[in-house]
């Protein structure tokens, strides 16, 4: 498996071993094994409904696995108490497919919320400074007093990313960051993911079925098919395959674009 030279192969921030997850008769994940190194961007590629989002929800402790182990920053997620899991989540940023902005709050309140709830005794000036810094990082300072309903899809995604950055996470989990966006906005989001990695030194798992996103953002690509990773490596390594399923995935994306 190819891992780029600029990535330290010694420090694994996420280790997933033999992970299984089923919903009734639907066996979504069938023995997934994956690791994420510090400052690495790993893209998990796969068709809709193959369990990509389930995978990162298990990493974030939102879903429980049926079997297997998930270690995040040296901690076994399944064995953490509620308090320990909350401590760990302070180091995780999760960008949702739907952005999941709080409808009843303005953009500023959305950004402040995780900060105010988790960091006590902050002065108003400190809160404002941090909020302005992250909103400037995603290039949407002009929207700070708007409601989420007034934003476009791309803007919502950016604010969603900004909200996760406010707690300075070590690991970013992106769930379909370009889904439902036009190609130009998708490129903006891909660039944002790379900027976030460079500016905040994050390690990321990016869930997508968009090949442009995978190629632009991924140091490494893992192809998820039928509940298992059939191929891992660089983008070119993964698609230099004779597997018909991988070829058809590539062709489909190519035709779509």
């Amino acid at each position: 498996m190819h891992i780029p030279d600029n990535i330290s192969k010694e420090e694994e921030v996420i280790v997933i071993k033999d992970l299984y997850k089923s919903f009734g008769e639907n066996h979504v994940l069938r023995g997934i094994t994956l690791n994420l190194f510090r400052r690495e961007n790993v893209v998990v590629l796969g068709r809709s409904g193959t369990g990509k989002s389930v995978l990162i929800k298990i990493i974030a402790g939102l879903l429980k696995a049926d079997a297997g182990e998930v270690w995040v920053l040296g901690k076994d997620v399944e064995k953490l108490t509620g308090k320990e899991l909350r401590q760990l989540r302070l180091k995780l940023g999760f960008s949702f497919q739907s952005s999941a902005l709080y409808d009843s709050m303005t953009v500023r309140e959305n950004l402040e919320f995780p900060l105010v709830q988790n960091v006590k005794h902050l002065k108003r000036s400190e809160i404002n400074k941090t909020v302005e810094e992250v909103i400037e990082a995603v290039g949407l300072s002009q929207t700070i007093n708007q409601m989420p309903a007034e934003l476009s899809g791309g803007q919502r995604k950016r604010i969603g990313v900004a909200r996760t950055l406010i707690l300075r996470p070590e690991i970013m989990l992106y769930d379909e960051p370009t889904a439902g966006l036009d190609p130009i906005t998708s490129i903006d989001i891909n660039n944002l993911i790379n900027e976030v990695q460079q500016r905040y030194h994050t390690s990321s798992i990016i869930i997508t079925h968009d090949l442009t996103c995978a190629k632009t953002t991924g140091d490494r690509v893992a192809m998820l098919l039928d509940g298992t990773f059939v191929r891992q490596g660089s983008f070119d390594e993964v698609f230099a395959s004779d597997d018909e399923r991988i070829k058809s995935f590539y062709d489909y994306n190519f035709i779509q674009q």
């Binding site: 299984y20 949702f96 999941a100 409808d103």
Partner: protein, 263 residues
Amino acid sequence: MNGNSRASYKPGKITRFFLHIYHAFAFVMRFFREAFIPPFHFKEFIRQCYNMGYRSLPLISVTGFITGLVFTKQSRPSLADFGATSWLPSLVSIAIVRALAPLVTALICAGKVGSNIGAELGSMKVTEQIDAMEVSAINPYKYLVVTRVLATTLMLPLLMFYTAFVGMMGSFLDVHAHEQTSFISFFESAFSSINFLDYWASIAKALVYGFTISMVGSYKGFYATNGTTGVGHAANSAVVTSMFLIFIEEIIIVQISNFLRGG
């Protein structure tokens, strides 16, 4: 590893029913664990008190007033047959304080507040806002459920007293129009028939109803599924379930208060 060590199995209907009861019970018990441990979301609690209490006032005012007025109008002919219309203030006050005010307030709030909580939390659930809170290291149960349940439980007794007051005013208007009874003699007659236990039984009812409405709304919303259809179902089911439970609780509390009265 074969992946089946913790794989979900499909339980039967009866097992599902008991699992559902257990799940709901655990959700309620969690409130008592979380409500008294910091952090306390005081600002959110005050906001919910405003939403649940103050914003319900217009609807409560109209329904309470009409309840008192109509009850008086309907009771007059029966009392007039016995030449006992002077008992109207006592009759109305007993009916309103003991039964109508808590029940009318609870049913109005089940419709307004319960559906509101069910729909709001349901839509937060299906749009992943609750998950977003969780991954931001914020306890969504504490922030969303505890604040709403506390606010509704505390606001309902206040709304109940307000309903009783406007209901009595509606009744007074009718009595005054027919018998020219003064304000003071109407209320003297009304209050002379109500004792300490009546007030406490009504407060207890209102507290129980408030807890039920908000807890059912929160539970239905918190576990909403199936997108927007699920949100509608959560709101509807919150109202239907809480109304059903309110009537069950009414029977139980009336039996207890009658027992305490020695009747």
